[in-house]
């Protein structure tokens, strides 16, 4: 960069657009060379596609008793069968689907709540901040898993939606705190004051002045909440509080434990769901680190 585009007195005809494009293509440039990002995104997308497309090629329900019992993986039953003769491949692809659903639902609700509360607290300050911060801290120290167990077992609604809602309502606090601290520093910038002097409403200022300046941060919060929701859902499913009659990777683990798959050596029953959960959440975290390196110039390996 020897010529500084648009420096005072520089050639007036120099168009300004290339800078924006340069910024975007620079991100793409680093994204394409970041192995963490590529591997993480690759694994997550592969599993997502498996969950989306896989069930279309399975012509029976995941919990139907269709085949011989205790069969190891074979050409007919790719991942073998359970001790009741259920097709584990069918359970796996349907389970992936609901796992992604719960991640999007629980993570999405938590993200919306957390960012809304964080932005309001950080931007408004004063008494609003104190009240919202108090609520955040109370929810933060709640023993979330216990509350979830109590809520899910007493309220006899065990659908995927309800589970996602519960997870969303309990896992937002750290996101709210993180967003609040970022918003606190951004809210004191002069351009925010200038937007107020331009007759902008609070909400417009938050969405069009503050949020765009922390978009990468928000994206990473969402990824972490997404992965967290999947883990919590797996935990709930595993202790038998999953959606009744449904199928998920956590429920598969639960029934394999319940019917002593480990002792009977039916490794094909519990390894696919366990590996699936680990792969999704693990690669999301790797994806997150990769994104961090792409967005944050200080972390880039040049």
């Amino acid at each position: 960069m020897s010529n500084v585009a648009g420096a005072p007195g520089a050639d007036a005809a120099t168009p300004a657009e290339p800078v924006a494009e340069r910024g975007r293509s620079e991100i793409l440039h680093f994204a394409g060379r970041n192995p963490k990002l590529l591997i993480g995104a690759g694994v997550v997308l592969t599993l997502l596609l498996t969950g989306l497309i896989g069930p279309l090629f399975v012509d029976h329900g995941p919990n139907e008793y269709i085949g011989p019992k205790n069969q190891p993986p074979s050409g007919e039953y790719w991942l073998g069968t359970t001790s009741f003769g259920q097709d584990i491949w069918a359970q796996f692809v349907y389970g992936l689907r609901s796992t992604f659903m719960i991640g999007a639902l629980g993570g999405g609700i938590a993200f919306l709540l957390g960012t809304t509360i964080g932005f309001l607290a950080g931007y408004k300050g004063g008494i609003v901040d104190e009240i919202l911060n108090l609520i955040t801290n109370v929810v933060l120290v709640l023993p979330t898993l216990v509350v979830l167990i109590v809520a899910v077992s007493y309220l006899q609604v065990e659908g995927l939606l309800v589970q996602g809602l519960f997870i969303g309502l309990t896992s937002w606090p750290w996101a709210a705190r993180a967003v609040r601290s970022q918003a606190l520093t951004l809210a004191n910038r002069d351009y925010v004051d200038l937007a107020r002097l331009s007759g902008r409403r609070t909400w417009r200022i938050i969405t069009s002045e503050i949020a765009p300046n922390m978009s990468s941060y928000l994206m990473m919060s969402f990824i972490l909440l997404f992965g967290g929701a999947i883990l919590i859902a797996a935990g709930l499913d595993f202790i038998g509080l999953g959606p009744a009659g449904g199928v998920s990777l956590g429920l598969m683990l639960e029934s394999s434990m319940q019917w002593s798959a480990l002792q009977l050596g039916l490794w094909w029953w519990f390894i696919p769901p366990g590996a699936g959960i680990t792969a999704i959440v693990g690669s999301m975290y790797i994806l997150n680190v990769g994104l961090d390196e792409v967005f944050n110039p200080k972390l880039r390996e040049l």
């Binding site: 648009g6 005072p8 007036a12 002069d190 002097l197 331009s198 007759g199 002045e209």
Partner: protein, 303 residues
Amino acid sequence: MLELSHVHKVYRVGAFGAGTMRAVRDVSLVVRPGEVVSLIGESGSGKSTLGKMVLGLTKPTQGTITFEGNDVTRLRGFGAKKEYYRHVQGVFQDPFSSFNPIFKADRVFEMIRTSYFPAISDAAWRAKVLDVVGTVRLDPDNVLNKYPHQLSGGQLQRLLIARALLLDIRLLVADEIISMLDASTRIDVLNLLADLKERGLGILFVTHDLSLGNYVSDRSVILRKGAIAEMGPTRRVFENPLHPYSRHLLSCVPQLHRTWAEVDAELAANPPEDVELPTVAEGDDSAPLVEAEEGHFVGIDQR
């Protein structure tokens, strides 16, 4: 036009807001149309806080700020504030942080358009923008459609003034707008302020630079620890400082043709006449002023 009456600002500091910090103490002053009033003070003297309160960005703890008869501190609701900003605008100290770095610089004009002129046609708006950009003596081809980092501090600062001129403003709060500029752009911006004054705008000029205050303003207010130390017509304040703090401040201005020792010796040789400063009882938060000569006020001496 703008009148501040016994304005206080107290911040709560420390754990659980136990301690208090009085940033502004009992300040009363007036800005008339076509008049430049300098608020001069060192860092932490409360001058920027005063500017922010006039702009409605923070609320005074006590006291009233009236603009053309309306109490600014009691503006309720979004609509009232928006109307207020149609007539009162501010320009801040740091031109680089006044622009959102991820958007183009002339977005500040677009914000004014969407908020205040939603119905105007593209052509009419373009003409209006070119007009104000010309007023601040910028070349539109050089500054429009650029990102903030492509422009110099002086250009950005003048864009901000142009932005304020898009509205029908009557009062401009200029918070240290020259401090970040180099000497050659400084004079352009100062002359621009003089032009605006000719148009009948009232300007509240916040600065820590005595010579700038002297150059541009009709009246000067010297602040110390949040209270007014001295207030009066600029010439009288600078030629005949009455408050010990203002004397000290003025003797600190470097002079090309004299050394510090010479200045000190001269001050010691003919000590200025002392003025009876007003005093307040311990624990009293007010800061009364005494009129030493016509229009020239002296305030309390705070240790």
